[in-house]
Symmetry: C2
Subunit: 320 residues, 2 copies
């Protein structure tokens, strides 16, 4: 396949490349990002990869890229995806999630290009949910509760208009919390793993790790399962439809801590950092992937135990 990947330097992109390297050797990939990639393309020997350092807010640069590369597929991963950050810079969060998307799809529309586009969204779009409403299906009403979530809902509504009103081949996702090797320690599971690995390297009698609220329950899905869903949706997803990508399981954060302690054979105490507690947050969020299973046969395959082991392995490797 000939695919443009936005948000190329992120960890999801690398896992997608690994999948594509296996599934469709010979594929052409153009990566774009406003940051530069810090990984080596030689890890994906079967792919023809090139990279352009552009900001999708730059409409002319975006136009040029599409004109010369002429992608058959676009995997739109680019996003300022931090909820916390969106409270500090709400305007930038909104514009960097909506205008960058519009700059892409407007070019596809205006030039009447044939191209299938995956618009990645987030479970944050659901906003406030009660336990009685779980698991969340795609039909559940959206009540976004952060600037980031509003931006994602806007992107999804725009996708629907471009798909239904302009007949663009856009498919949308609501991706739940993904985890996996390579994720930055801004995210909770990666942060725990990094701290655990540091502790295991040191000879400290009192082991403590810093956390936020450990009683919340989230639906964690391994990034390697996520990119399989992205690949399937790019190939066979229905135009204008939105798909949950999740594990279907709720896991309480304190069990993640216990599992990691067990894997590394460590005794730890947890210390809550109040800065990591969000003012309002759902106690429990679990999604349903029934639609993706029924339509495309997708199911998550990687257990939480394997995810955690691999994440710890990643941080052990990083620490070397």
């Amino acid at each position: 396949m000939k695919i443009l990947i936005t948000g190329f330097t992120g960890f999801v992109s690398q896992h997608f490349l690994a999948l594509l390297n296996e599934m469709e050797p010979g594929s052409s990939v153009l990566g774009i990002d406003k940051n530069k990639p810090d990984f080596n393309f030689s890890a994906f020997p079967e792919l023809n990869i090139s990279f352009e350092n552009i900001d999708l807010l730059d409409r002319e640069a975006t136009e040029k890229i599409l004109d010369y590369f002429k992608p058959e597929y676009i995997l739109h991963l680019a996003s300022v995806s931090s909820v916390a950050q969106s409270w500090h810079t709400p305007l930038e969060s909104f514009v960097n999630n909506t205008t960058i998307f519009l700059n892409l799809v407007e070019q596809i529309r205006v030039k009447n290009r044939k191209c299938r586009i995956l618009s990645v969204g987030s479970s944050e779009e659901f906003g406030e949910v009660t336990e009685a409403e779980l698991p969340l299906t795609e039909e559940h009403p959206l009540k976004p509760l952060s600037p980031y979530a509003v931006a994602r809902v806007s992107q999804e509504m725009l996708s629907k208009i471009y798909a239904d009103g302009f007949a663009l081949e856009i498919i949308m996702t609501r991706s739940f919390n993904h985890i996996g090797p390579g994720q930055k320690d801004l995210f909770v599971i990666a942060s725990f793993a990094k701290q655990f690995v540091q502790l295991s390297k040191e000879n400290i009698t009192k082991n403590t790790i810093t956390t936020g609220n450990l009683s919340i329950i989230r639906d964690f899905v391994d990034v390697r399962d996520v990119v399989k869903a992205y690949y399937l949706l790019l190939k066979k997803g229905k135009r204008g439809e939105v798909y949950n990508i999740c594990s279907g399981n709720g896991i309480v954060l304190k069990d993640i801590v216990s599992s990691m302690a067990k894997i590394l054979n460590l005794d730890v105490e947890t210390v809550v950092n109040p800065d990591l507690i969000r003012p309002t947050e759902n106690k429990k969020v679990v999604g349903s992937y029934q639609k993706l299973k029924t339509e495309l046969g997708w199911e998550p395959e990687i257990s939480i135990e394997k995810s955690l082991k691999d994440i710890i392995g990643y941080w052990q490797n990083e620490a070397k």
Copy 2:
């Protein structure tokens, strides 16, 4: 009051000024718009009105205006409000409804200003509705069906975030089809009235007027009632709440044509222009203003008959 009015050159603004001239003589008004006003400020002798020709997309200009005027209230009327146009320039429609709003409220937030803001929205936000769901209350789910409607829903979601998350005093509306003297003939009722007045001035044996689909039923509310609601909401609306502004009555367009024919004592035939038929549109849309009535005592006071007579009077005056 000291009020900034955006979208100052539009017809809603003029009716708001007339109300303010009566209700709060001595008020200071700063109008801003990217177009220049074509009306005379001397019609509002009790107000201190000034005008600045700026585009709200210009963040620095917006900042300067707020810095020097220091409004206590903002009536945010500015919008690229044509649904049809939004299908031709979806990106501009989206940016001109969301970024201009963000440029305003971000300044209020960052500088921690005390200011009550009315964010005007549209009944278009509801999107597809069935007759069984009427009249529409504020709780009805939003399924926007045009780029314009998506932009308006985004603006409303952003308003909610700024109100609930940043404690800004923002109140939102979903304003239904407003009609009244001064409205441009881009809009259906004004277009009918203008055509009727032209016919009444000529001695033509065969009277025809050009229309779109005359069987659709809409909730028309007189702009003079609308601006009363805006005034009340600016003063007493609840932060972060959205209010329908509507008449509560559904009127079929062909009855509007008959009423105008009767007012002018004309016999007319209608000719449908296929260009004026929208690909998808609701057969019937009627809103409920119960929330605005219960909380603030607002009710529409101007009958459709009076609205139509005054609109015809306006076009007769224009034709002189």
